[in-house]
């Protein structure tokens, strides 16, 4: 199973097909261009030791990275898109999906389930950029919705890790509506004071940023991740000028007020754990007090 994708210049396209990762022992860092020993790179969570560049990693890797060993239980993995629009493409949408199912051994662009993070129960969903550029279709929307319901039912925090080209064009208006649907479930969590941590990884754009990904109680970004609404190419075409350095990168978003904190991949699990601990301290006290009063 492929863990990392090539860094791709154009996240507007469906570029998952282009991702052909060298299978040899050495990997060239996309940023500093140094050759990295693959095994070492993996041990370092696919972060370049030379320059700190965070390679894209797939959803399985992230789940392994964040969830305590052996505690993850996947939910809703059987949901599969129906191609409700009979979308016509160069290759029919259905065929594209079929080939992805085979290639990735996954049914959709998100893995959802429940597990323990530093011994705390959490509901976690991770978008997979290697599946259709992590785009949100009806299935992704539905799985995130159901995951949120599960978090409510079990009264456990929700963590969503995003890496996505946005809404999936091939399901047109239905993909668009998933923005409302996923925002809805976040609203329902907020009403119930259930913590929701959003982790934005490279790249998070379009309808995913503009719905659940930006709505975290705490928004965490990985360093140097591309995060925005419009893709850089679209913006360049619109304004007819080159984009400034660092535009739409994590640091830029932090400075512009959209991100709470930038966390290196190696610190991510512990940071989330700390946040959840603090956020739940007084909720638990309140709950105990409430019970006591009843």
């Amino acid at each position: 199973m492929k863990v990392i994708d090539e860094k791709l210049e154009n996240i507007d396209d469906n570029i998952e097909n282009k991702a052909t990762f060298p299978k040899d022992m050495w990997v060239k860092c996309e940023k500093c261009k140094n050759l990295l020993y693959k095994k070492e790179l993996e041990e370092n969570l696919y972060v370049c030791k030379k320059c700190g560049f965070h390679f894209r990693v797939n959803a399985d890797f992230r789940i392994n990275m964040l969830i305590d060993n052996g505690t993850f239980r996947e939910y809703f993995s059987d949901l599969v898109s129906k191609d409700p629009l009979n979308f016509v493409d160069i290759k029919p949408y259905k065929e594209k999906l079929e080939s992805l199912y085979k290639k990735t051994n996954k049914n959709s662009a998100v893995i959802t389930g429940i597990g323990k993070l530093c011994e705390k129960n959490v509901a976690i969903g991770v978008l997979d950029f290697s599946f259709f550029a992590g785009t949100m279709d009806s299935v992704v929307g539905e799985k995130i919705y159901r995951l949120g319901e599960l978090a409510i039912k079990k009264n456990i925090p929700l963590i969503l890790v995003s890496s996505s080209g946005g809404a999936r064009m091939q399901e047109s208006i239905l993909s668009l509506m998933q923005m409302a649907k996923t925002s809805l479930i976040i609203s329902l969590l907020k009403e119930r004071s259930i913590p929701y941590i959003s982790v934005l990884a490279d790249p998070t754009t379009g309808g995913v940023t503009a719905s659940f990904a930006i709505l975290g109680d705490i928004n965490i970004a990985e360093p140097d991740a591309l995060i925005g609404f419009a893709g850089p190419r679209v913006i360049e075409q619109t304004i007819r000028q080159k984009l400034p350095d660092g535009f739409q990168r994590s640091e830029y978003l932090l400075n512009h007020g959209m991100i709470d904190v930038i966390v290196k991949r190696k610190d991510l699990k512990n940071k989330i754990s700390d946040i959840l601990d603090i956020l739940s301290l007084n909720l638990n006290i309140a709950k105990k007090a409430q019970k006591h009063n009843l």
Partner: protein
Amino acid sequence: MQKFLDFEKPILEIQEEINKLLLDENSDSKLKIEKLEKTCEELKKNIFSSLSVWQKVLLARHPMRPYSLDYINLITDKFIEMHGDRCYGDDGAIVGGIAEINGKSFMIIGEQKGRNIEENIKRNFGMPHPEGYRKSLRLMKLAEKFNMPVVTFIDTPGAYPGLGAEERGQAEAIAHNLQEMIMLKVPIISIVIGEGGSGGALAIGVADVLAMLEYTIYSVISPEGCASILWKDASLANLAASALKLLPENLLELGVIDKIIPEPMGGAHFDIKAMSNNLKKFILEETKKLEALDIKKLLENRILKYKNMGNLFN
């Protein structure tokens, strides 16, 4: 200046002829006019009963189509436009304000295009910045406080993809609106009156009742954008338009919209008054139905509606 589409030209030619005859005092011009009018009506019927998807896209973007403020002026008895997001700016691409219609108050919010260069600079071609969405949210919260139904008119190529828009959190502004609209404690009616352009449309379009005028479109990406991604060729937009299933009948079938509001023969721009009357009637009727529900039920229905959006799996 009047601007018309190619396939409308035969209709216009006849109408010009009629207009000429109307100035003529010759006795048999009356008969001629009657004949021409009949021909014109039939021509319209023919043309409009066999429009291609792409022609409908062009109609949705028709430069003579009524815009939000046109409808607002015709529909309301009183309208007081309100400005600003109380944070950064006032976005000309979204207008909004309190209104009275038939003795009831409404908050009306609409995306607004311009008709000439000056207007389009002010309106940014109907492409809102974050402050536009934040203004609309502010007005919706005000509506909630004063128990006013919210009516939104959707008409945008999309949220503006520019430096300032990204800087000030276009994504946040849109997502925030979605999150708040879904829980807003007053009825929301949204109507696509022209172009429903992706997240920029949805950001004011989470509603209890979502309707589209007959010749409008609503999709996740513009046909041009879709074509240039799929086939690297924006000129194949007509193909993309068909693939995207962006017409009212498609969306009705998919359960995304609740109603198609018919347009006058030839499209809304041929008879703005008739169109406004349809619209007004629709708004009043739907409001009445929604206000008959108590707030809890209203919200339950809204939540259920969006929970079930796109529930079409194997």
